[in-house]
Structure formats: C-alpha cells, structure tokens
C-alpha cells in the first residue's frame, strides 16, 4: 500500500509539463538595464502587472512556432528521401507517380510557409546590415519594433487576408491536382494563410519581447543578435 502511495506521490500533477510555455523562462521582475531619466537616476517604468500576461502570450506563440519549426526540420530530410527514392525508382524500376512528385514540393511549401515564423524567432531573416550593424543593441531593438509595426504586421495581415479567398475557393470545390494520381490540392493552398497567420503571431510575440526588453525586462528568448546567414 505504502509503495503505491509513494508512487502516486512521486508524480505530482505538474501543469508545467503540459504547458511548457507557461513556465517562466525569463525573469518577470523588471531589471533596469539602462537609465533613461535625464537626471541619470535609474528609473523603472511599468510593472509586471501589465507585461506578465503579454509575455506569457509571447511564450505561448514561441512554443507553438518552435514546435512547428521542429516538424519542418524533419520535412527537409523527408523531402530529400522522397525525391531521391523517387528518382531511383523511376530509373531502376520504371515506377513513377505524380503523387510522389507533388509530395516533394508540398513538403517544400510547408518548410517555406511554416518555417518562416521560427526563422523570424531566431532572427535569421536576412537584412541589409550596413546601417543596422552601426546601431547600438538598444537602437536595433527600437528599429525592429518600428519595422514589425510598420512593415511586418501590415504586410503579413494583408497577404494573409488576400490569400484566404484563394484557399477558400479551392477548399470549397474540394480541389484535386490536375495531374493523374495527384494529391488533394487545397491543403497546400491552406499553407499560405496559415503561414502568414503564424508569422503575424510571431511578429506580435517579437514585438512584446522587444518592448519588454526596452522596459528593462530580462528576456532570454530574445534573439536580438543578428548574424548574416552562411552561404
């Protein structure tokens, strides 16, 4: 009996396990990193009351996109396998199907549309960095905040909105590929509004993190450092 009790006791209900995004990964206590008061006194603006729920939302979005990003990682390898096996089958055994050919670019489409938000989280979308590199870390964060509000969010919302009818039309008529043996077409069209939706969410999350960082919060998830991608 005691053993059973101990067994139960040893596994306390841990909501954090199921909702890892709820786990505070950064300090919620404002840390003043920089003084902004003209007198030079360290000032602390805002409190945790306002930022905490926003940061929780930001962690939730990050968590979603991170996991979607992981799926996309595997799609790269799967696409390689499908493409190479398909090519070998065609020459070795004269077996070919449009379904396999289409599956390749379906996966590629998923990598592009769904991986973009994780790439944004990692701050790996390429920039023209001549001026950007001259800015202080603080200046870079401010530039990003302006950029997200002026460029990223409007563009993503607008394209997402434009692409909805494009998907819905296909969905409504239950569109299939026009190739013999092809795949159902609307899921891949759905990737466009979905991708831009996720990107909008991630943009909001990045915005929250950057605003919080400016207000003195310590945000370990913030990839403010930018490096040009390797070519």
């Amino acid at each position: 009996m005691g053993a059973k009790g101990a067994f139960l006791e040893s596994r306390p209900l841990n909501p954090m396990k199921w909702f890892p995004f709820a786990e505070a990964s950064g300090s919620l206590h404002p840390i003043v990193i920089e003084s902004r008061h003209p007198s030079g006194a360290k000032v602390q603006i805002g409190g945790t009351r306002f930022m905490a729920p926003l940061l929780a939302f930001s962690r939730f979005v990050d968590w979603i996109n991170q996991n979607i990003g992981k799926v996309c990682d595997w799609l790269v390898l799967l696409a390689v396998l499908v493409s190479s096996v398909n090519a070998m089958m065609r020459y070795g055994f004269d077996i070919s199907s449009n379904a396999w050919l289409e599956l390749q670019w379906y996966m590629y489409a998923a990598i592009v549309m769904l991986g973009a938000s994780y790439t944004l989280k990692r701050n790996e979308h390429v920039r023209v960095d001549i001026l950007y590199m001259m800015l202080s870390r603080r200046g870079q964060i401010q530039l990003d905040i302006a950029g997200i509000i002026v460029f990223l969010l409007p563009a993503c919302i607008l394209i997402g909105w434009l692409s909805w009818p494009f998907f819905y039309q296909s969905f409504h008529m239950n569109e299939w590929s026009s190739n013999a043996g092809g795949l159902l077409r609307w899921p891949v069209k759905f990737l466009i509004p979905l991708g831009f939706g996720l990107l909008t969410l991630q943009g909001i999350s990045e915005l929250i993190k950057r605003v919080a960082a400016l207000r003195g919060y310590d945000i370990p998830d913030l990839e403010a450092h930018y490096e040009r991608p390797v070519q």
Binding site: C72, L75, V76, V80, W105, T119, I130, L162, F166, I192
Partner: protein
C-alpha cells in the same frame, strides 16, 4: 495626385530606402510593394483584383516551383560534405602532388577549389576548410601572406560559378532558362577563371619567386598515388551523381540535389565510421551492382531483369549505408544539425522571393518594367553601354546586397530588357544565358571586396590572429581585379559562354528544361513539368 509616370521611380526610391533601413529584406520588400499597391489603388491605377494575383503568384511560382525546391537539397548536401573531410583529403594529396613546384600550394588550392565547386559548395565551407589545412603549411614555408589569403578566398568563392552552383539554379529560375543550358554556359567562364588564377600565380612566381617557395613532398610513389586516389575518386563519384545525372538527362536538377545529398551521407559513412564486416559487404555489393547496372544498361537495356536485379542490390546497399549513417551518433547529429540550418535558410531565401513577388507585381502594375526598359535602352553605347552599365550597377549593389537579393529583386527587372538588347549579339536562345553567367561572374566579387566580403570574414575567423585584417583586405584586391577581368572577358567575348552551348552536346536540352513562371492569374498550378525525361 501622383501621375502614373512617377510611380516606378517613386517605388524604386522607396525600395532603396526601405531596404537600407535594415529590417529583414523579405518583409521590407513585401511592404514596399503593398504600400505602393495601396497608393495605386487610391489613385485608381488598378483595383483590388489586381492585388489578388499575389497569393496565386506566391503559390504558383514559389511554393509549386520545382527548381527552388533544389535549395534545401543543395544546402543540406553542402552542410554534410563540409564536415566529412573530403576537402582535407583532396588538399593534402594535391599539395603533395604540386608542392615541389614554385607556387605549388597556390595551384593546389585553385584546383581543389574548382573541384569542390563542381560537387556542391557553399563559399563558407570551402574557404574555411581550405584555410584550416593550407594556411599553416603556407605560413611554415614563408608564403607571402597576402597571396595566401587572397588565393584561399578567391578559390573558395569560385564555387558560386562552377556548376552545379545554387546561384546558377536560382538565376536560371529567375531568367526562365533551363538549368542545363545555364550549366553549359558557365563551364567556359569558370575554367577560364581558374586559368586566370593559375596564370596570376605563375606570374608571381616569375617576378617574386621568394613569395611562393616550393614545399618538399613527404610522400612519394605508391602512398602518394593512394592518397591522390582517395582524394579524387569520391569527388569524381559525387560529381557524376550531381552533374552527370543532370547533363545526361537522367535527373532533374532538383533530384540531382537529392541524390547528391544521399551520396554525401554515404561518403560520410565510408570515411567517418568504423565499418563492420556487414557494412563492407554492403559497400562492395553496391559497387559491384553499379558496375552490373552499367553493363546491363549498355548490353541488354534498362527495362530488363538483369538491370533490375543489380539495381535492387545497389538500392539495398544504399539504404543499408544510409541506415548506418543514422545509427552513428556523430553523423546522426551532423545530419540533424544540417537539416535544422537548412530549414531556416530555405525559408529565409524563399521569403525573399515572396517579398520580391509582392514588389514586382505592383511594379509591373505601374508600368515599372517599361520604365526600366526605357532607362536602360536609352543609354549611350548600345549593347556595350547597356552591359557595362548593368555590370557596374550589380558590382556596386553587391557591396551591400546579397546574391539572393540581387537575383530576386534586380534580375527580374533587367531580364526582359536584356533579352531584347542582347538578342542581336548571340541569338534569342543564348541571350539570357550569356547575361546570367555574366552576372554570376560579377557577383563573385561581392564575396571578395572589403569591407563586407564574406569570404574574407570566413577567412578571418579561421586564420591566426597574427595575420592582420589589412593583409586580408590587400590580399583580396588583386583577385577582385582578376574576377573583374573575367567579367570583361565574358562581356566582350560571348563565345566563352556560348561555346559549349552551340556545340551539339548529345542531349536535347528540352528534356531537362524546367519551365517556371506559371501564368499569374491562373488559380490552378501548372502540372509539375519535370515528368520523366523521355
């Protein structure tokens, strides 16, 4: 009210301003397009229906694009090859082979740079690998430091130009030409480029022999031969897998990338893991089966039982070796790390195209293409004036734009004009190939010129701190000069590009042509046009 004639110029200015701010290019591009699209709608130049073309174009020419699908494949292949020691082996054997000549190490770096470029090649991987191995030797034998850094950076960069470079694939896509033709066109300039490099090295050995002293061999005879074979044969097999299959029309460039990745994984297994008896058997069986396939294909044909049996054996052997790669912990980690980086790079690159698509749809809507055409055709000097102006433009843009940005933003604007202007010189088919290869040669310089040249950054990160950055910068200059001479050669001697194109090359280019650029308004994507080459 803004007159329609002003819109393209305003858009172009907006593009420059929005990009230079430093926000990620993909989103800046998209918003500059959408922003001017909104203005145009307010002015009544077009309606919202016109903007509705954007999702269709994103879908049709980016997501359903079989050529851009090659990006993740080539990237992953590069990531795996970078770590599997192929560059090291080739450099060591070439260094042994050419070492005793004056400037021998220089020649070996140039040759290895070219061969590695013909397999895959990211500039980063190539420069780093070559510098790590060669630089210590060069320093020990008192090579001139500026020469050493220059030759390493330049030979690493040439991978951009040597087929099957990703740059050529992307340019082929943007110019709407076949990748196979693009490759054929690039052979001439890339061979000439290394010839120029070698010539320069030889020239230095004449005027300043003390700068490039000979290095004695440590291996001779049979061990040297084995070392050379071990360096060359795997490279040869991979070159065949990637380039051979494209040139023979056996695979599309995309599939060749995938096959090359599998080849790279197998190569990594053969070199880095402890092979069990089973592995060796599988490997040997695979080799025998390849020979069997070739014999069967040439004697009884491909759709016969003997061919299929040997192919099955080969297939099984490949699967076994790939499975072994997966079981090997370091290799497994390498592949996983590679695919992560690949995912982000693919998404990043494709999103530049998404942004560029938003821009170019609106730009075309306000007659921007006519504006560019008018501006470029009214230049003095006709064809040569046009080419020189365009190349100067690209050369200076390359100071602060990446290759991908130039390819996706600038090239689509220039392509229609280039087709029209260059047609009288080399004919309709070759015009854009010539143009594309020329831009490709030109864009090499973007890796090389101080202060933003990437090859120089990579070099800086791996060579000893005792070498000053000034030496790296000065060392790079003559090689930038050589690259520019090459641009001039390509401009004034189109034969360097068209030479291989005009010759009958045994295959019908149409079998490997992949048409991109599907119709804009069409909802349904065109069928994937890379059916089995017949």
């Amino acid at each position: 009210m803004i007159p329609l004639e002003w819109m393209p110029a305003l858009m172009f200015a907006g593009l420059v301003v929005f990009l230079i701010i430093g926000f990620p290019v993909a989103f800046s591009l998209a918003s500059v397009g959408l922003f001017f699209g909104m203005i145009s709608m307010a002015q009544g130049f077009f309606t919202i229906d016109f903007m509705q073309a954007i999702p269709g174009r994103i879908f049709g020419s980016i997501l359903a694009n079989d050529l851009l699908l090659a990006i993740p494949f080539f990237t992953l292949m590069g990531a795996i090859l970078e770590k599997c020691g192929l560059a090291e082996d080739m450099l060591e054997s070439m260094g042994q082979l050419f070492g005793p000549m004056k400037g021998g190490l220089g020649y070996s770096v140039i040759i290895v740079g070219f061969i590695l470029g013909a397999i895959t090649g990211t500039v980063a991987a190539q420069v780093i690998a070559m510098a790590l191995i060669t630089m210590p030797v060069m320093m020990r034998y008192n090579y001139n430091i500026r020469y050493a850094t220059g030759v390493l950076a330049a030979s690493g960069t040439i991978t951009q130009l040597v087929p099957p470079s990703l740059v050529l694939v992307v340019l082929a896509d943007q110019l709407g030409r076949s990748v196979g033709d693009m490759y054929l066109g690039a052979w001439g300039p890339s061979l000439l480029q290394i010839a120029l490099f070698a010539l320069y090295t030889w020239f230095i050995t004449i005027i300043r022999p003390q700068d490039l002293p000979p290095v004695p061999r440590t291996l001779t005879g049979r061990p040297l031969l084995i070392k050379c074979m071990w360096g060359i044969i795997p490279a040869g097999v991979l070159i065949f897998l990637v380039l051979g299959t494209i040139m023979l029309g056996l695979a599309t460039p995309t599939e060749a990338g995938a096959l090359g990745t599998v080849g790279a994984i197998i190569l990594a297994v053969l070199r880095n893991t402890q092979m069990t008896k089973m592995d060796k058997t599988a490997y040997a069986a695979g080799l025998v089966a390849v020979a069997g396939c070739l014999v069967a294909a040439y004697t009884v044909g491909m759709k016969t039982v003997p061919f299929r049996i040997s192919f099955s054996v080969f297939f099984a052997s490949v699967i076994w070796l790939c499975w072994r790669a997966w079981q090997d912990k370091p290799l497994h980690d390498l592949i996983v790390e590679g695919m992560r980086a690949t995912m982000r790079i693919t998404s990043m690159v494709a999103f530049i195209v998404v942004g560029a698509t938003c821009f170019s749809i609106v730009f075309a809507g306000v007659d921007g293409n006519l504006w560019v055409e008018h501006g470029l055709t009214s230049l003095p000097g006709g064809v040569w004036g046009f080419l020189i102006a365009v190349n100067l433009l690209v050369f200076f843009l390359a100071f602060f734009l990446d290759f991908f940005e130039i390819a996706f933003i600038i090239v689509p604007m220039l392509a229609p004009v280039a087709q029209k202007v260059l047609e009288p010189v080399v004919g309709a088919d070759a015009a854009l190939i010539w143009f594309g290869v020329m831009l490709c040669v030109n864009m090499q310089t973007s890796f090389m010129h101080p202060p933003f040249g990437f090859a120089l950054f990579y070099l800086r990160s791996v060579i000893p701190k005792s070498i000053s950055s000034a030496d790296i910068y000065w060392g790079a200059l003559p090689w930038v000069g050589l690259q520019l001479i090459m641009v001039a050669i390509v401009i004034f001697m189109p034969i360097t590009v068209t030479f291989f194109l005009d010759k009958p090359h045994g295959i019908d280019p149409s079998t490997i042509r992949i048409e991109s650029a599907p119709p804009v308004e069409e909802d349904d994507m065109p069928p994937p046009s890379f059916g089995p080459p017949r």
